[in-house]
């Protein structure tokens, strides 16, 4: 593995746990684990078992590669609103919102979480592969009295699954009372953390921001709980795909707008009156005129998974789009995919075909998510 890869604060712990490390967004990250000892009794290891452990119990993901930053200053909310379509002025203290960092042409530069920390500052969490570009863009576009402070000295852990709430409540009683998209600064077993009840799996769970130097301590405390097993990027990807959640650079990018991506819900009600965010006019037109293509769920009728880039064929034989994320869904027990099709085909049940290894395999448009969300609302 190349020496110039960056590491997270859990590099040593991953090795100890039997992780298979891969390069991802410039970081050395665990894709899956070969567990031994007590952890092997909890979870067999491997993408399938780690995925199912998250759906059934609780999985711990190292997501310290993601970009964390604070946006602070009197006009921080208004300044963010100039770049994202979400209602940030209306985001109450202690609440978090999923949003999109927009380009002036209506393309999506990244998707991100924005939280009102209640002290006049907002935290943002952005994708690892985009963080330098995002922070540079924010610096260019934020007014002089609003400050962006990247937090490379913080780790980020995700505890996800139906048992995540019980586990964290045991170690941090205040966490048990949090609802989906709540954010609070609270200690976990004496370690200062910023906890949000959110995630990227479709399950209930938390993302926990913690000082880099305390990240391994916190991970060990969480892994000490009998319900918890580590899970790698492989399971993280199959979990989010089943949950119908977009992966930046694949399902959305600078060439997709929020309307065709099916993310119109992320545009605040007030924002839809004013359209005063970067790319707003283009997004407004896409909403008014209807999108040229639409992100949909796709189920193969057979068992061959269709991967990213697979061509989508309409009933008339024309190639009309491509798969943007695809693979085997361990909880669904079958291949699942997302991709873009013309609006006329974006109806659940519409028969299509997928060109896999030169063969047109029958498939159909299917509702998203493939696996129902189980957020604690």
């Amino acid at each position: 593995m190349a020496d110039d890869l960056r590491t997270t604060p859990l590099a040593a712990l991953h090795r100890e746990l039997g992780a298979r490390m891969v390069a991802f967004a410039g970081y050395s990250m665990p894709v899956q684990y070969d567990f031994s000892g007590e952890m092997a009794r909890r979870c067999r290891g491997g993408v399938l078992a780690e995925h199912l452990h998250c759906r059934n119990r609780a999985a711990l993901f190292d997501v310290s590669h993601m970009g964390q930053a604070l946006v602070s200053g009197t006009g921080a909310a208004a300044a963010l609103e100039a770049l994202v379509p979400g209602d940030i002025l209306g985001l109450k203290p202690g609440r978090q919102r999923y949003s999109l960092l927009m380009a002036d042409d209506g393309g999506i530069l990244d998707d991100l979480m924005i939280a009102n920390l209640g002290d006049g500052s907002f935290s943002v969490v952005v994708n690892a592969a985009r963080k330098e570009a995002d922070f540079a863009y924010l610096r260019t576009r934020l007014p002089a009295d609003v400050t962006l402070t990247p937090q490379p000295d913080r780790g980020l852990l995700a505890l996800q699954g139906p048992h995540a709430g019980a586990v964290l409540a045991r170690l941090c009683p205040g966490a048990g009372a949090m609802r989906f998209m709540a954010v609070a600064a609270m200690p976990v077993e004496g370690i200062a953390c910023v906890i949000s009840r959110s995630g990227y799996t479709g399950e209930d769970g938390f993302e926990i921001s913690v000082a880099a130097g305390e990240t391994e301590n916190l991970a060990r405390i969480l892994l000490h709980e009998p319900e918890v097993a580590p899970a790698g990027l492989g399971a993280r990807d199959s979990l989010r795909l089943e949950a119908g959640l977009c992966l930046y650079g694949h399902d959305i990018d600078a060439t997709t707008n929020p309307v065709e991506a099916g993310l119109t819900w992320a545009i605040g009600k007030r924002r839809k009156m004013e359209w005063d965010f970067a790319g707003g006019a283009t997004v407004r037109a896409a909403l008014h005129d209807g999108p040229r293509r639409v992100r949909v769920g796709i189920r193969a009728n057979g068992r061959a998974p269709a991967r990213e880039g697979t061509e989508i064929i309409a009933p008339n034989g024309a190639v009309v789009g491509a798969i943007t994320s695809g693979g085997f869904g361990p909880s669904v027990g079958a291949p699942v995919a997302m991709g873009y099709v013309p609006p006329g085909l974006a109806v659940d049940g519409t028969p299509i075909a997928l060109l896999v290894r030169g063969k047109a395999l029958p498939a159909h448009v299917a509702p998203l998510p493939f696996q129902p969300h189980r957020y604690l609302r």
């Binding site: 894709v31 899956q32 491997g46 993408v47 399938l48 078992a49 995925h51 492989g234 199959s238 068992r303 061959a304 998974p305 991967r307 693979g327 085997f328 361990p330 291949p335 290894r357």
Partner: protein, 125 residues
């Protein structure tokens, strides 16, 4: 039946008369991870040495399986199509892929034996 021989593409081959049984090695299934889909060749298909004729997909990626010897596919293991996890659980016995008949036995002479294959895997690790 002859001793098991191995290819650089991580297939194993066992010859019984002029019929070769082919599968992927324990190392290959380990590296692939959880196998979720297998596509096997049609029986009766004539295959050339090194021809891609089956596909094995894990949760991570799809890989070709190559015919390690020339001949005609006479039998395929439908059990691994029904339950792809057999390839992980028992790669060199119950998890075999296909049988090729009309095989020239000398084709196996240049393949690796177990010790050579183990060394090859250790070297490429």
């Amino acid at each position: 039946m002859t001793e098991t021989r191995f290819t650089r593409d991580h297939e194993w081959v066992r010859l019984d008369g002029d019929v070769a049984t082919v599968g992927i090695t324990a190392h290959a299934q380990e590296a692939l991870g959880d196998v979720v889909f297998v596509e096997l060749p049609d029986t009766g298909r004539a295959v050339g040495d090194g021809e891609a004729c089956a596909v094995v997909e894990s949760v991570k990626a799809a890989s070709d399986v190559f015919a390690p010897v020339a001949g005609t596919v006479t039998e395929v293991n439908e059990a691994i199509v029904e339950d792809p996890s057999l390839v992980n659980a028992d790669p060199t016995e119950a998890g075999w892929f296909f049988r090729i008949s009309g095989v020239d036995a000398s084709a196996l002479d240049e393949m690796m034996d177990q010790a050579e294959y183990d060394a090859f895997v250790a070297e490429s690790a």
